[in-house]
Symmetry: C2
Subunit: 188 residues, 2 copies
């Protein structure tokens, strides 16, 4: 819970009482490597604050191929936001790449927090905007750069992540075939 408070207080300041209420809405949970936090078609009752570990948000297409929307690690919020906010079936799955500890928050808890402590709505808004901005950067990378540049940018931006994921997964994230990525990483 300490991690959560530090995380929130990068954006807004909370009194002890406020944080005590906020934290009472979260439930910790542990997942193992290779477990799914949720799968496509399932309900998504929670948004997850990732305390430790590593997950990926994946979309599975009609041919069964996995496409990686994002990796999420320490200090990130993740869920299928469309499904969570509208209480619908997931279109994506959230898959653990390492043993992962999360703090989960239900939609009711989320609304209780916003009602009880309006500052938190500001915090969530800041996070949502951050997510939007990050997505725009990724879109730009597809518009501007070829596979090699996208790979180089990823190395620059997430040097620590590169150590923790396979080339196969990185290729999928970057939108190139495994083989092409292998050839790119050689020529440097």
């Amino acid at each position: 819970m300490d991690v959560l408070r530090k995380h929130i207080e990068k954006v807004i300041v909370l009194t002890d009482e406020e944080f005590s209420f906020v934290s009472s809405c979260f439930t910790p949970q542990h997942f193992q490597r290779k477990e799914y936090i949720f799968r496509p078609q399932e309900r998504v009752p929670f948004v997850y604050f990732i305390v430790s570990g590593l997950t990926m948000l994946v979309y599975i297409d009609d041919d069964g191929n996995e496409h990686i929307l994002s990796f999420a690690m320490d200090d990130w919020w993740e869920t299928d936001f469309g499904a969570f906010l509208h209480q619908r079936q997931a279109t994506m799955g959230l898959h653990c790449l390492e043993d992962t500890v999360v703090l989960k928050l239900s939609l009711d808890g989320y609304q209780a927090i916003c009602a009880h402590c309006p500052k938190m709505e500001h915090f969530f808004l800041a996070k949502a905007n951050g997510g939007h901005i990050a997505s725009q950067h990724r879109i730009l990378s597809f518009l501007m750069a070829d596979a090699k540049m996208r790979y180089d940018w990823f190395l620059e931006r997430y040097p620590s992540l590169v150590q923790r994921i396979s080339k196969t997964l990185l290729a999928s994230y970057l939108g190139v075939s495994r083989e092409t990525l292998s050839r790119l990483s050689r020529q440097r």
Copy 2:
């Protein structure tokens, strides 16, 4: 202003007083076709609610090539969110493709609205999440589909927009060369 109220009330309900305060924070402005609402490197003091017309959010790379992050028309909110929220220089430009009427809202106005009427923070959060979800769809389109499929999806999803933009711009939005798009649109 009527348009704005209808737009907001798709998400939350406002009393007359509340809406009167909200609308007092907005200023209408008219732009002509080909004008820039803001350019890269400029300050971005406002977020823009587009009442009518058509704009595109563009990033200009080191070689001077324009890349289109999004088209925005009636009922959309647009700005360089990173620059607006942190009051920094724009990394993108907002360019009018048609004569465009906007309602602009400053960061102060935005914060006044949130302070005076907390429900509105919920509204803005819903919009931010909507933007995030839309971006994720676009990312998926790059991961899953080739140029032809992205083109077909665009036709399906935005049939009315297709009539209003040149193929050159559409190609740029889809991340393919003008020539390739021309050949794709022939083979169908």
